[in-house]
Symmetry: C2
Subunit: 189 residues, 2 copies
């Protein structure tokens, strides 16, 4: 794993940095691994950006980082290829029962989503409401249209139910978002 898996906020025992949650992240990793092994799709999580401030060298291949900080991802966290198409998505969880707070998605990420869609890519959110254990796929177009037409700073769960797609629990792959992509973008059922 290339990112700070297992690094937890000791106070709340939840992942502090990404608001993604370790369980969701681990399920997505195993889902992507399944897609890769089954020659279905090649999608990876990007490493967490880290600003390195101070290092020491023992040799070329032995560099120890002494001081560094986590940074915000300027794009989305996961990207790759499915059926020749560019795939790009972000995964988040919320403890909130009925709303997904939009502060979870930064402005530059919204711009990025817009750009990718304009260029013909497939872009979406995976959002889990942890208290209800419901995981939704929300297409980038639906996200942009909500932001355009609403003043509010959070998306109600009903919007996910109406405009998004519930990702049903499965054994393998755990979060079968490709099934939803087939429905939404390839006219499949």
């Amino acid at each position: 794993m290339n990112y700070p898996k297992g690094i937890k906020n000791k106070k709340s025992d939840s992942v502090c940095f990404s608001n993604r949650g370790m369980k969701l992240e681990s399920e997505l990793n195993s889902t992507n691994e399944y897609y890769l092994q089954s020659d279905i799709a090649c999608i990876h999580k990007k490493p967490t950006p880290i600003k390195v401030v101070d290092v020491s060298y023992n040799s070329c291949n032995d560099v120890l980082i002494h001081k560094a900080y986590f940074e915000k991802q300027s794009t989305l966290d996961y990207n790759g290829i499915y059926k020749g198409k560019y795939i790009d998505f972000e995964a988040k969880e919320t403890k909130n029962n009925n709303y997904f707070p939009l502060r979870n998605i930064h402005d530059h990420q919204i711009k990025h989503i817009q750009k990718v869609i304009e260029m013909g890519g497939i872009c979406f959110l995976i959002v889990r409401f942890t208290s209800k254990n419901l995981t939704f796929y929300l297409d980038g177009n639906k996200l942009l249209s909500f932001i355009k037409n609403n003043e509010r700073k959070s998306i109600p769960i009903d919007y996910f139910k109406q405009e998004g797609h519930l990702i049903k629990d499965k054994l393998r792959p755990t979060i079968d978002y490709i099934e939803i992509i087939n429905k939404v973008h390839f006219g499949g059922e």
Copy 2:
């Protein structure tokens, strides 16, 4: 910048970690920025993977990394979208006059290139021979075919000249690899 730009090996004054070279990296960043601003393509460098070993917390948004190590990228360093297609590439430089040593590309990266091509993506190398200041585009197919048909552990510059494409020096964008993609993959000239 999300990666350790400016971190140099103090002994040799060359970038130790990626074998990419700061100049090539910086030229590719400005090229990608140009493509993005001009709505041509949306291609980003992935953050360098870093294994975080020890951190301390002041608050949720203030996490200091005390101990960490650079890791190898399991995929390629740059990816994104152009004309709806998935783009994926690696950039390397060599000080060698006549050969590009294949040890610069790891086995799992070769497998990744194979996978991306099978899935309909566009995958390639950008290789700069610094002593001659020549920068080539070598399509992933040509790389795989060289590896399949040769025992040798380095690719001669003549192979780049014959099977690759010289990327001419330009003002803006500096490394216009999209021009080559148009030739190779979109039948353009």
